[in-house]
Amino acid sequence: MSRVLYLAWRYLAFHRLKTTILLAAITLILYLPVGLRVLVEQSAAQLTARAVATPLIVGAKGSPLELVLGALYFGAAPSESWSHAEVGIVRDSGFAEAIPVYTRFRSRGHPIVGTTLDYFAFRGLSLAAGRQMAILGECVVGSRVARLLQVAPGDAVVSSPESVFDLAGIYPLKMHVTGVLDYSDSADDDAIFVDLKTSWIIEGLGHGHQDLLAPEAASGVLGREGNKVIANASVVQFNEITAKNIDSFHFHGDLGSYPVTSVLVLPHDQKSSALLQGRYAADPRAVQIVEPVEVMDELLDTILTVQNFVLAGALILGLATLATTALVFWLSLRLRRREIVTLFKIGGSRFAVGSVMASEIVTVLICGTLMAGALTLLTSHFGSLVIRLLVRY
């Protein structure tokens, strides 16, 4: 048998290009449907797992999918924000706990998530290094952020300006990293967590500036009306919160009217959940409450429908490629007729000559199957990462 395999191997090795093309064709035929199935199953599991762990989400009326993806995966923030007062409304209902999430800003591509410490307890996130954020301007980063941005406790990250061409727009805020989260294989690995108030400071709703009563600020003061001081643009605004200037940071107006992109709602029990949903269903305000599982199930239905189309396409493509491969083998055998006759003449039996030809085909098929298997294995290992990146962008 080794003699037959040797001859088959020599033929395949000599015709490298042809062998490679056949190998690639067979690999794709086998991998496409299986790989796609693995990817879809993983995406379903990935999407569902985080959705299942999050009972309800409240946010501004609009696309439920946008609200869920923003709250669970910190993708693009919903086009409409909702007021922070909703957190209190949910808590005061007595039906559930509420965790605010504000995800409008980014730092070098990573979402900045304004929330409270309750979020870490809710998601079961623990620190791999450093300590939790404690004051304004501090942040903890996900494990992937720490790795990609090469940051550790003691370093700093800067929020990205929304538009570099808008000189009157939001200035970047330099935030101090106090901790790095353990790897959680979730969207939290890609996020930078700050206190909700810090995210409002990034937005410019809270700010710190030079003391206008100090003599060195006198040139910037335009006038005084009782407690109000009117200043011009020369007054220095701080873009980093330090021990020296933290006391100068303040918020104007009612914090309850400040924005959040979503509120994670954790009902005490099933009944509370139903009652809360009923209450929101009857709410005349432009607010909605969604069950992430239902929203993700709808998304999965869409994905499965697309998958069926893709599988049908892959099947047709596979059959066409299989037919082409068979044709290539058949033509190859015809072109090698003289070689086959020679092998017979010098004493090769029909079985031996047939075995050489069959070994070539079987070797290509086995290698193609192994490669498809390896690709499927890679897909099962790294599929979740790809899905998370896709969901993020």
């Binding site: 003699r3 020599r10 070689e339 020679t342 003449k345 010098i346 004493g347 090769g348 039996s349 031996a352």
Partner: protein, 220 residues
Amino acid sequence: MIQVFNLVFGYGEGEFLLRIPALEVEQGSTTALIGPSGSGKTTLLNLVAGISAPHAGRIVCAGREVTDLSDRERRDFRIANIGLVFQEFELLGYLSVLDNILLPYRINRSLTLDAEVRRRAADLADRVGLAGKLQRFPDQLSHGERQRVAVCRATLAKPLLLLADEPTGNLDPQNSARVVQMLFDIARQEGATLLTVTHDHSMLDRFERVIDFEKFGGGQ
């Protein structure tokens, strides 16, 4: 020794008919088969080698009645006793020179490919001037070199009978002379009978015997 008695072979109704009432070739002799194209020279080689079977008549070769053997027995007989050299060399393009010479041992389970055979293959290649080209492929060789590889392949198993079908048909005069000399030398050294089909009349005087196929009624 090859003996042919009342041999009849045809390809169909009235198409090409070869009749050889009687023919005898001595063991260890060198014989040239000449005649116009289609006169049956190659057919006789195929019949003697057991590649084709006659419609009637008998062929006795190396003491075995080839015409009485089954397909498998004829193949075994061919492996053990006959070396074939073709006009178009018929080397396998994807095998090196060494692997082409060893091909009969790779395709036949009845032949044992051991170190001794490998050494003999290298010796043969050395004798025909291919020592430094054992790892080359056929398309890296000249026509003359290819035919020398084919001769090595045909003689590696030390056959009793060497059948060459126009071995110089694709070669220039210089290479033709060299290949023919090789065939003569190897046949003499191994004590093999050399039966060669040729159209090159300039080398006929080197053969001990010349058989003209015109008299066997080939063609129609």
